[in-house]
Each structure stands twice: as C-alpha cells, then as structure tokens.
C-alpha cells in the first residue's frame, strides 16, 4: 500500500514533515485541580490532575518528595469497534508507567513531600499517537493545576514508510507495521526524556526519524506555550488586573 504518493502527499493529504492539527483546552473538568483536553488530528485525549493532596495509602508515602501516580485508559468507544477493554491490561499498564515516569522527571517533587499527585488520562478518540497526546494533555493539566515543573514535557511521534520519514503518524500509517518512534522532550532544556521505538530501523535512519520527531515536539511546545499564555491572559482579565 502506498503511504506517500508520488506527489509527496500522504493518505490524509499531509506532507511528510507536516503535523496534524493541534487543539488544546484547559479547565474542562470542574472538580479536578487541573485538567485539559488535547487533540492531535482525530486523536482526542482528556487529562485530569488531582494534587498535591494527602497520600491515600500511608505505606506508600515518601518523606522527601511527592508521590506521582498515573492511570491511562482508553474509552470503549475510542476505537473503530467498540470494545470492552480490561482496566489493567498490559498495554495500559505500560503506558501508565511510561507517562508517570516522564512526568515525574519534570515535576519538582521535592517541593511537595509527603503528598500525592494523581494524573488520570483517558483516550476519547484514538487515531494514532495516543501516547504523545496523553503526555501533552498531562502537561497542560499539570500547568493548569499550578504544580511546579522544571519545564514543559511535549511529545510527538514519527515513523518511516516508503523510504520517507513521516511526522505524526495516524492509525492507518501506524498499523502499517513500519517503525514507530515516540519522543518526549523538555523543550527549553533540549533534553530527551521519553524515547520508544518498535520495529526495525537502521541506525542512521533512526537518527533522522528521531530528529524529525524532536522537531515535531518543539512545534507542539510552542503551541502549548501559546495556550498557556492565552489562559493566563484570560485569568488576568477575569481578576480585573
């Protein structure tokens, strides 16, 4: 199947280096301390953050830093066929672990000892790149909750099909069986925190694909920064500043 036609257009009409349309919104869950919805094309993810609050399980309390918990789940209606997903299945467990460790690296946990920060991420529409969308949504939600962070964490995926590196794969391109590289960076520090890859790729090709994904992450970072600035301006105007 041809994923990049001879004119250089992909299946959905994008260019190889083009990302899908981004859309983010803050403050969607009223009861949560911080929440956000993030859309990358057709992938839609909602994140809610509760914290810092008292640790619910005393045995897990950490005396010198905050405990970060994360739960990732996909809604039954998120994919093409409506499937009942078991809560603790292996893929969800792994992605929860990945998101938790990624956010934990950027939250200044030592400022909030003996407390707990919960991040809940739910996929509402899955069209490829759910992991990245979840991390971006979590970043927005954490910022909305006012939790101190070292830097934003943004994430984007890239792949390699028909001999071209492609940015931000959708579901059809993802299930083509080609390599899928997901990268998460701290944009201001220019450091890679999350890196996952599956399927085979030559080393130098991998370097190109990773570089492309990092560029995508930086584009997401600038968009997220815009949203946060916009949000702050609204807060300012509401407070009459």
């Amino acid at each position: 199947m041809e994923y990049v036609n001879p004119e250089g257009l992909r299946l959905d009409g994008r260019r190889p280096m083009e990302m899908r349309q981004l859309r983010g919104e803050i403050g969607v869950v009223s009861r949560a301390d911080g929440s956000a919805v993030f859309e990358m094309g057709n992938t839609k993810v909602i994140a809610a953050v509760y914290g810092p609050r008292e640790v619910q399980n005393r045995s897990q309390q950490l005396n010198d830093q905050a405990l970060v918990r994360c739960e990732y789940s996909m809604a039954n209606f998120s994919t093409g066929d409506r499937m009942r997903r078991p809560k603790g299945d292996r893929r969800s467990t792994e992605i929860s672990l990945v998101i938790r460790q990624t956010m934990e690296a950027c939250i200044l946990t030592h400022l909030m000892p003996r407390s707990q920060i919960d991040i809940f991420v739910q996929v509402l529409q899955a069209d490829g790149g759910t992991r990245s969308a979840c991390i971006n949504a979590a970043t927005l939600a954490l910022a909305d909750a006012g939790i101190p962070m070292r830097d934003l964490v943004t994430s984007c995926g890239a792949g390699y099909l028909n001999g071209t590196p492609l940015l931000d794969l959708n579901y059809v391109e993802d299930s083509a069986g080609g390599p899928d590289v997901t990268v998460g960076i701290l944009p201001k520090l220019d450091k890679v925190t999350l890196l996952q890859m599956d399927a085979k790729l030559q080393m130098d090709t991998f370097e190109n694909v990773m570089q492309l994904a990092i560029e995508g992450c930086k584009a997401v970072a600038s968009y997220i920064r815009e949203i946060l600035l916009e949000n702050t301006k609204q807060l300012e105007s509401r407070r009459g500043v």
Binding site: S59, Q60, L97, I185, V192, T193
Partner: protein, 516 residues
C-alpha cells in the same frame, strides 16, 4: 524509582553518594568499567527450548512451548509469539505473588517488542492450515534472582530458549487434507524455529547528572539511577526497539552514542549466544593434512569439533574439501553427528595417533543395522559447549566414491583383514575400494546428491536413534572397549558380516569427532 516502596529496601544517602562519587572517576562498585558487561553464562536444560542465563548475580530462566491454536482473524496465515514473565518473589523483596507488577509488564513488553515486532522469529512458517491451525509459541521468562538489569538477561534467556526449541512436526491428512496429525518426537524429528536475526537488548543507566552513563547496571546502581535506556539491536546494524520510559532527560547526542556502544556489545553477546547454542560456523582450520599413496588424510577443526576425512581415489582434493566443508558445516549447525565409516582402519598409525590426541571415548551405541554408525546428540543438551561430555571417535576406512562399483566381495575382504597384522595405509587402500560400492555420495560429481543422501541417511538414523540404541546395545556389548584398535577390529567384523547387503552400504568416510 520504585513504586511500592513500603516493602522495598531503600538505599542510604551514604551508599548513594558513594556510588555517584565513584562513578565520577569511572569506578563502579564491582570493579567494572562503565561500559563493561558482567559475566554471562548460558546453560540449557534437559528439554528442548529451556535455558538459564546468569548475568552477574541476575538469573533468569526461559522456557519455550508451542501449541496449535486458531490464528488471529486479521492474520490468518501467521503463527503467534507470546511472552509471559514471572517475577518470582524469591528474586527480590519487592516482588509480590500474584499479578505482575508494572516492571514485570514493562519487561515483558520490551522483550516482546524486540522479538515480535522486529520479526525475529518467522511467524509465517508456523502456519499449518491457513485460517484454521497455526502454531502459537509461548515464551515464559522466570526471574530467579534480581541482581540488576533483568531486561538484558531475560532477553538473552528468551533468545537462547528460542534457538534450542524444537516444535513437533505435523502433517496434513484426512479426507479433505484438513486433518492435522502431530508427530511425537520419537516418530519424526522435531523442527527448529526459523529465527532471522537475534535482537539483543543492551541497557544503559544514567546516574547522577546525565553525563554519567553506565552499561548493565547492577542492583545498587539501579536504585540510584535517574533514568534508564534499553536499546535492542541486532548485528545487522538495525535498531529493533528502544525503550526510555521517562526518567532523567538526556541530550540527543548521548542517545546516539549509547546506540553505537550498544551495537558493539550486541555483537559480543550474539557471539556468546551462538557459541553456547552451537550455531557458530567458526573458522575451519586444517589441523593435519597428509597425502600418501593416493590417500588423502585431512583433519579439520571447526571450533570444538574435529573432522577426520579419509578419502581415496580422489583427484581433486580441493574440490572435495570445499564441497564437503560446506555440507558438513551445514550439518554441524544444529547437531553434532558422529558418522562412522564403513570399515575400521587399523593400520593408520599416524592417524590413530592424531585421533588419540584428543580425549576420545568410543560410543558403541552408535552402531546400526545399516552399517552406518551415527550418534546424534544435540550439543545443547550436553551443556553449553560442543563436545562437552559425549565425545565420539571413529575413523572410517578409505572407500571408493564410485556409486556404480560392484558389491563387496566379503570373502576377499575377510581374508585380507584376517591377515592384517601391520597394515599400511596402502594395503588397506587396495583392498578396501571394493568395500563401499553403493555410495550415493557421488562426491565425484560434486552435485547436491550427497547432501540429500546424507540427510536422508541421517534423518533415517535420527529417527531410529532411540530404537537403535535399544536394539543395538545388547547386541554389541562386546564393543565396550576403550582400546581403539580393538574397537576398530570388532567394528569391522560386524560390518563386514553385513556387507552383503549392497543397498545398505553407504559411502560415509567422514568421521566427525567431537572432543573436549
């Protein structure tokens, strides 16, 4: 980085500082350099497809089993590969009984991505009836001791187990050709899996500030590290999978450097695995070469296997050698065959000396009805190296390679051999050409026939291996002599008595001796 810290041992500040400070001067607590792996030993169990890997203090066991199942709907002609991890509570105080924790799931998925998504195991060959029956391969990884870096050890255990696993052969039958009969291993030789490449996982730990990178972190280093990166690569220069699940941020250049180091280490580990399983082609050296009166004697050495080749009436030694070598190396890939020639050759003093040099113990069980002595044992069963505990030694006599020569003249042979006191190679050679008539090996023609004959012969004998041993042992008890010469004699007598059946004679002149 532990989630359930309530029941975990925690590191003291002193220990943590010590490890970090030592690493600033490139010292690790166990004396390794930052890019040194711990000692790796790979052992195999008694069954096909079981392996035990020890990487420093970390111990992991891998088991591979197979089952016929229905395929997935969207992949009707592919088999499946599934990995299950078992974090035994005896391995670490933080492992709990019951549901696998996060790290167990992560480890399972890393190994799974490396093996399945990179298509290391050929799943299409596992299909029996498209859409109805396929083989489902299940890999169970049991963690016995957590000394750090479980991912690498588990990956090696999975690969070693996959390489030594044999699935039963099954044939289609029945009226519509849809009925599948699985043959038990003693009826038909089980088949190995087709493994295209070996993806090796190499784990790096980032400790302290990100400029300190160590490979193969031990348990202490894992408790101190800020981030971990596991790169799965193969020796073809492909990156099969990468997992850096959060943790401390690192520069892109550091990641690429880690990948380059990982590719070197992966080549190392691949060699070790192949050696342990017995797959290394290795270099074939000519240990001894002699031509005397029309008889070529060659002793070749390939790793731990010695090859004695005796041939007569062969004009082009080089052609024969190169051709035989290729075939033999193919055969040696998975099994160590001991093929004993048709006639013992007592008089080759110089040769027998060569043969005696390596420790050899004759295996009498290998005599078979068809005058072809074959002892087949998979090197994996004996332990980690070839020729571990079951060396076999045999020589064959020289023979004629002519497939069209006439049958053996038994009387003549017996007479000549009876008079054999001090037999020189030349004499033997004169009498023995008529010995091996029905050689299908037609190596003269240098066509693939020998391989087919060999395989046919060997398969026939592999199948009969069990029955042969049972059948043969009581008959040939007298063969239990350590003395080579005696053995040759008795062998010869036995074989000669059956020489009459021309069809069963075969032309093996190759004696492969596995020795310590």
């Amino acid at each position: 980085m532990e989630q359930r810290l309530g029941s975990t041992w925690r590191m003291t500040v002193n220990e943590k500082k010590f490890i970090e400070t030592a690493l600033l001067s490139d010292l690790r607590t166990d004396g390794r350099g930052p890019f040194d792996y711990r000692n790796l030993t790979i052992q195999f169990g008694s069954e096909d497809g079981s392996s035990e890997v020890q990487l420093g203090q970390t111990r992991v066991m891998g088991f591979v089993t197979s089952q016929l199942v229905q395929p997935y709907r969207d992949r009707p002609n592919e088999g499946s590969l599934a990995i299950f991890t078992e974090f035994s509570p005896m391995a670490d105080p933080s492992f709990e009984v019951g549901r696998p924790g996060e790290f167990a799931v992560e480890l399972g998925r890393i190994v799974d991505r490396g093996l399945r998504e990179s298509r290391a195991v050929d799943t299409e060959s596992l299909c029996v009836v498209a859409g109805k029956w396929v083989w489902s391969i299940r890999i169970d990884l049991h963690i016995l001791d957590n000394g750090g870096n479980l991912v690498d050890a588990a990956n090696i255990a999975a690969l070693a187990a996959l390489l030594t696993f044999r699935r039963p052969e099954c044939t289609l039958g029945g009226e519509d050709g849809q009925e599948v009969t699985i043959h038990p291993p003693d009826v038909r030789e089980p088949l190995p899996l087709i493994v295209h490449h070996l993806p090796i996982a190499v784990t790096f730990a980032f400790i302290g500030n990100e400029s300190t990178v160590v490979i193969d972190p031990s348990h202490f280093e894992e408790a101190v590290m800020g981030g971990k990166l596991t790169a799965t690569l193969n020796t073809n220069g492909d990156v099969c999978a990468i997992q850096k699940a959060g943790g401390e941020g690192v520069m892109q250049s550091v990641i690429m450097q880690c990948l380059r180091i990982a590719s070197v280490k992966a080549a190392d580990i691949t060699d070790k695995i192949k050696k342990a399983v017995g797959l290394d082609g290795g270099v074939v050296e000519v240990a001894h070469e002699r031509y005397e009166s029309g008889l070529w004697t060659l002793i070749l050495k390939n790793g731990g296997v010695w090859l004695l080749i005796l041939l007569t009436n062969w004009s082009s030694k080089e052609a024969f050698c190169s051709f035989t070598l290729l075939h033999l190396l193919e055969k040696l890939r998975n099994k160590t065959f001991v093929l004993v020639g048709k006639a013992a050759w007592k008089g080759v003093n110089n040769l027998s000396k060569e043969m005696e040099k390596p420790k050899m113990k004759t295996e009498d069980r290998s005599i078979n009805q068809d005058d072809m002595e074959i002892e087949i044992h998979s090197s994996k069963k004996d332990g980690s190296s070839l020729g571990d505990n079951k060396p076999k030694a045999f020589t064959g006599g020289p023979s004629s390679w002519d497939p069209y020569s006439k049958g053996v003249n038994v009387d003549e042979l017996k007479a000549s051999l009876a008079s054999r006191a001090v037999v020189t190679p030349k004499e033997e050679m004169d009498t023995s050409p008529p010995l091996k008539p029905a050689t299908d090996e037609s190596l003269k023609d240098a066509d693939p026939a020998p391989s087919s004959q060999e395989t046919a012969g060997t398969t026939e004998h592999t199948n009969e291996a069990k029955t042969l041993k049972d059948a043969v042992k009581p008959k040939h008890k007298r063969k239990k002599k350590k003395n080579l010469h005696h053995l040759f004699e008795t062998l010869l007598e036995t074989r000669l008595s059956r020489c009459c059946n021309v069809n069963l004679l075969c032309s093996l002149e190759l004696a492969i001796v596995a020795c310590n």
